[in-house]
Symmetry: C2
Subunit: 199 residues, 2 copies
Amino acid sequence: MSFSPLIRQLIDALRILPGVGQKSAQRMALQMLERDRSGGLRLAQALSRAMEGVGYCRQCRTLSEDEICPQCADPRRDDSLLCVVQSPMDVFAVEQTGFRGRYFVLKGHLSPLDGLGPEAIGIPELLERVANATFAEVILATNPTVEGEATAHYIAQMLAPKGLAVSRIAHGVPLGGELDLVDGGTLAHALAGRKPISV
Amino acid sequence: MSFSPLIRQLIDALRILPGVGQKSAQRMALQMLERDRSGGLRLAQALSRAMEGVGYCRQCRTLSEDEICPQCADPRRDDSLLCVVQSPMDVFAVEQTGFRGRYFVLKGHLSPLDGLGPEAIGIPELLERVANATFAEVILATNPTVEGEATAHYIAQMLAPKGLAVSRIAHGVPLGGELDLVDGGTLAHALAGRKPISV
């Protein structure tokens, strides 16, 4: 069957959303048309406003429509702590933990094979940010992947001469679940990083 | 954390999509902002065009921006067969099978408890459509649920005096999978509806 052109275009356009295939896109399109046209119009408006209006924070480089994002603008946050992450999504994840220091958002991780060197992911800007502020500690919260580890290691080397504490988020077993489901590498890290229990 | 207002509004708006919760909406919003703004703008445009431009086919009542949908307008289709379904999505499903007759789309199924009688779902219009055409057979393809069966049964009664064949899609075991996973009701239907094998 041929959907009529407007519906077909809507289905095609919905497929740019992550995790949305042909079938879900059809369901989304027809459901909105059948049941929630005003919601669909609100979504259209929110999309075009965000796509056109949202840029990057000048200071931490997370997504924001203001020159300085809410986290950077907040005077009550801890100016001695800087948390370095790979993406704006990670800022959100770290915020959920209650962390209230400052952030710096890289553009992904180092990947020499893809031509992504330190400049491409924003390491010079990070060094500049550190030089212009009074952080006591930089926490490297890049992903716990090979590339994320390599990126953290590289940044730690760059920051070493600056005379501030540089730390990496801990590796170990995640909370919940069962020990025999944890992969060997993680468990090895958890053993190596064991801590005395004080009673 | 607070996302900035435009991002927050986009995340809220994305949640009207079926199957999209808070977490997926965040991922969709940030991913579009980071990687595919032109796709996001195209989606905004497709949405507003479809929400404003798509109506219902005057003849079969499926979703269409034209007064007469592509299926009704096509002169090569079989004018002796009418397939009655519950929603525009079902038209698509039946089209996939290679069916090339005409359609009539009800607005859901009869549901007296919710106040949905024959008028609410468009049965008078269906009878009118049948009266004004020369169908030899009406195929009732409402859902294989209690309500869908009741709706099919009601329509069959209404059509009985019109002197045309009225049929219901077959119930039985679906293709693929294993017999012991099929529910009892379906298996009972499959046994009762068994057919001789010609060799």
